[in-house]
């Protein structure tokens, strides 16, 4: 893990999972929005609401990560390569609700049929960008500083 002075941090992570169901079912859980909506949330508290859905090469889907009515993030997925029951390669572009870029992840999903069912390997190649949070903090810092300056001038 290295940090450049250009405000980027890169990391690659491989996640492996085996399922006791066939490849067709596992692939469908990604391809079919109704099915994907049922599992594709990072936690129980976060509700994913899709506003666009196009599971095809070159297609794009857009989702909002919601906790209550607060938008944690907007995720744009762009599909680059889809081979049914074999692989899906797409990018997730993650921004804050205000539209500041947090990071981009290339997600490569591979499916292999096994005797027991399906092995799935998800490789995440992520770049975190010094975007939203830092810009928010800078803005908050300036607001506070300006507020204090006003107090000083008024005093």
């Amino acid at each position: 893990m290295t940090m450049t002075q250009t405000g980027m941090l890169h990391r690659t992570t491989v996640l492996e999972k085996s399922f006791g169901v066939g490849v067709a079912k596992v692939f469908a859980a990604w391809a079919d929005l109704d099915k994907r909506s049922q599992w594709n949330s990072p936690s129980d508290e976060v509700v994913i609401k899709y506003t666009e859905d196009d599971f095809s090469v070159g297609g794009k889907d857009v989702s909002l990560c919601l906790v209550g009515d607060q938008i944690l993030a907007e995720v744009v997925g762009v599909y680059h390569d889809i081979v049914p029951e074999e692989r899906i390669v797409y990018t997730e572009i993650i921004k804050t609700g205000e539209g500041f870029m947090l990071g981009i992840s290339q997600v490569s999903v591979g499916f292999t049929a096994t005797e027991a069912g399906t092995d799935m390997v998800v490789t995440l190649q992520t770049v975190a960008l010094a975007g939203g949070e830092i810009i928010d903090e800078v803005a908050a810092g300036w607001t506070a500083s300006m507020g204090k300056l006003e107090e000083v001038l008024a005093g």
Partner: protein, 112 residues
């Protein structure tokens, strides 16, 4: 910002104050290369060491550097808060993916 009522400076305010000076910004640039002794950092500047040490204290108060004694030297290093923020984001993102896969497993086990 909660401190607006109390007037106490926050870490962000101190950080801005620390950055509002060319000498202190130059120190930060130098520390990107790694930890360095205060005397070594002071060398390029035409000022008395006590004055330079004041700049280091401002940087430390702003959370931008940390210092430690090593024998007679005071060693300074950059506090890479930005790095911590970025790796924090990636950690949360990857943990979220692990949860997604667990939920997918539960989805199959529940018979869809």
């Amino acid at each position: 910002m909660a401190n607006l009522n109390t007037g106490a400076p926050t870490q962000i305010d101190l950080g801005f104050h620390a950055l509002a000076d060319a000498t202190r910004r130059a120190v930060i640039e130098k520390l990107h290369e790694g930890e360095a002794a205060a005397t070594e950092l002071a060398e390029p500047f035409d000022m008395a060491l006590p004055s330079f040490m004041k700049h280091l204290r401002v940087l430390e108060a702003g959370g931008l550097i940390s210092t430690r004694k090593e024998g007679r030297k005071r060693m300074c290093r950059l506090e890479r808060a930005q790095l911590a923020r970025l790796s924090g984001w990636i950690n949360a993102y990857e943990a979220g993916w692990q949860n997604r896969l667990d939920r997918l497993d539960a989805f199959f086990k529940d018979g869809e």
